[in-house]
Subunit: 324 residues, 2 copies
Amino acid sequence: MPVTISDVARAAGVSKSTVSRVLNTGAEVDVATAARVREVIAGLGYVPRSGAVGLARGSSRTIGMFTPSLTWPWMGEVLQGVADTVEAAGYGMLLHTSGGGPRSMAHFTAQVSARAFDGLLVIVPEDSLGAVTEMRRRGMPVVLIDDHGHPRPGLPHVATTNRAGGAAAAARLLASGRRRPLVITGPPRFGCVRERLDGFASVLPASLVLDGEFTEETGRRAVERALAQGVAFDAVFAHNDLIAAGALRALRASGRAVPDDVAVVGFDDLPMARHTEPALTTVRQPMREMGRAAARLLLSGLGGAALPDEPLVIPTELVVRDSA
Amino acid sequence: MPVTISDVARAAGVSKSTVSRVLNTGAEVDVATAARVREVIAGLGYVPRSGAVGLARGSSRTIGMFTPSLTWPWMGEVLQGVADTVEAAGYGMLLHTSGGGPRSMAHFTAQVSARAFDGLLVIVPEDSLGAVTEMRRRGMPVVLIDDHGHPRPGLPHVATTNRAGGAAAAARLLASGRRRPLVITGPPRFGCVRERLDGFASVLPASLVLDGEFTEETGRRAVERALAQGVAFDAVFAHNDLIAAGALRALRASGRAVPDDVAVVGFDDLPMARHTEPALTTVRQPMREMGRAAARLLLSGLGGAALPDEPLVIPTELVVRDSA
DNA sequence: CTGAAAGCGCTTACAG
DNA sequence: CTGAAAGCGCTTACAG
């Protein structure tokens, strides 16, 4: 039922080779013949079966995207950046999650072996780095999107400036006269936590550092604890916006005015950062740009370019709103 | 370099047919032979090339997912529901956006014609319904995920209970003694807006209905206007959580206490609903469940089942927090 | 139970 | 400039 290259060839009175040529190379075909073939193609609405093309050419014009979760607040931004870039290049994007546990991981590895895609984009998962390294070793082009600031020797990746971001937050607080910041971080095992901490401390020494998860609850609890302990602080640097939102809530509950009594700076610039009370000043992570850059890098690799050993770094940016 | 079915056949001393049989049907193969073949497969780490299998079988074991945007707040939930279901069935998921304008739309239609996937899941886009209908007419199995409450004759789709959701919001307000609700809606052209309005009015007549976009600004402006006009209201029913967030902000700015002076109910149950001040009571849209149901429906269709004409409806649920 | 052969729908040297 | 043929890596009747 669906029209094939043979139908086109027959209708145009040429061979399949010729149809294929006008479809692909374009050159080395008589102008008049090519025009006729193109007419037939348009008339019949012929589109080559991507599976057949892939088999014949040995590539699928598809990239894989592998992510631990699709529901993280900034994931949509990354995906949009990747999708835009990949689609503009005429590639498809096969999406996978590791969220389903070992079973989904197995399904994914099988797809890799099945060469369902030409290259792979990975949001660094905490646990599957080994599997990813192995895929790369077997010849699958891989680019990581690193949100955790871990060194990835031998794996091309795009990262952001966690250190500079921390420093920018500190500079902002310093400029408004703050001297005793409370810093609330995510899990210390993450490289990004250490980098943000370092950058911050290089500008403004922290009065107190509390760590926890990247959650609102961590922010609320940390502020409550600091308050209960009688720690004096005039600012909060939260390692992400959820923590910042929790901190804001605890501060308001305790009657502190933001930013007058305590200034607050977050990290990420999630959409919700506009809607906190007051609107959150935060260090923007360029997630969409990182997605775009990673996709571009991978596509250039598929095009034959050597993938760089150095991480591609997209800078953070301080977004000033009302909380600091 | 990558191992093929011929390599396996040679190593096991059987024909490709036999290898294929143990891989697929499993039956009609001598137990000992099958065991030997399986050993070789494991030893060589053989995985059939999905492109070749697809070509030979005429199907790709992949579904397409088409969405207007990846950055909508609830999109991650839908995608996660789809991904979980599809992966569990051993299918891949090819993701496309129409966000890139006519160009990305063209790229997508081409993929459809290229039979890059066996079936299609679509988040109803405002403008591309025609294209989708056409794809269906040409034999592509399609299931819509309808967030806008439009009737879709002839297109299988999953929807939610906008009407019942509106009624539940009204019932909640009524139960706490509210009698003069301000209703702030999204664009009236959307079916969901009318349904939510209907459901609400069937329980509690609105004092005033203002429409706008599904944005925080609409919520803020609407409340400010109502206040400026001196309209008396003791409750707000916002047609989504962003509008509700804007309403909360404007109420606070005007010194109204929530819920004491004015109770507020939203719609969606975005993650941010937990973080508003006070935490938002809202009507939950079951986006992940809708994604799951749509995927299941499509997969059963690919399995040969007839796709239902009736929409598959997943109910909303009132989530009670502090704002009402 | 098993193999040889044809076929899926393309691309790409190889001849001419 | 163009066509016949082989090949991409599988599956699946068809014989036996």
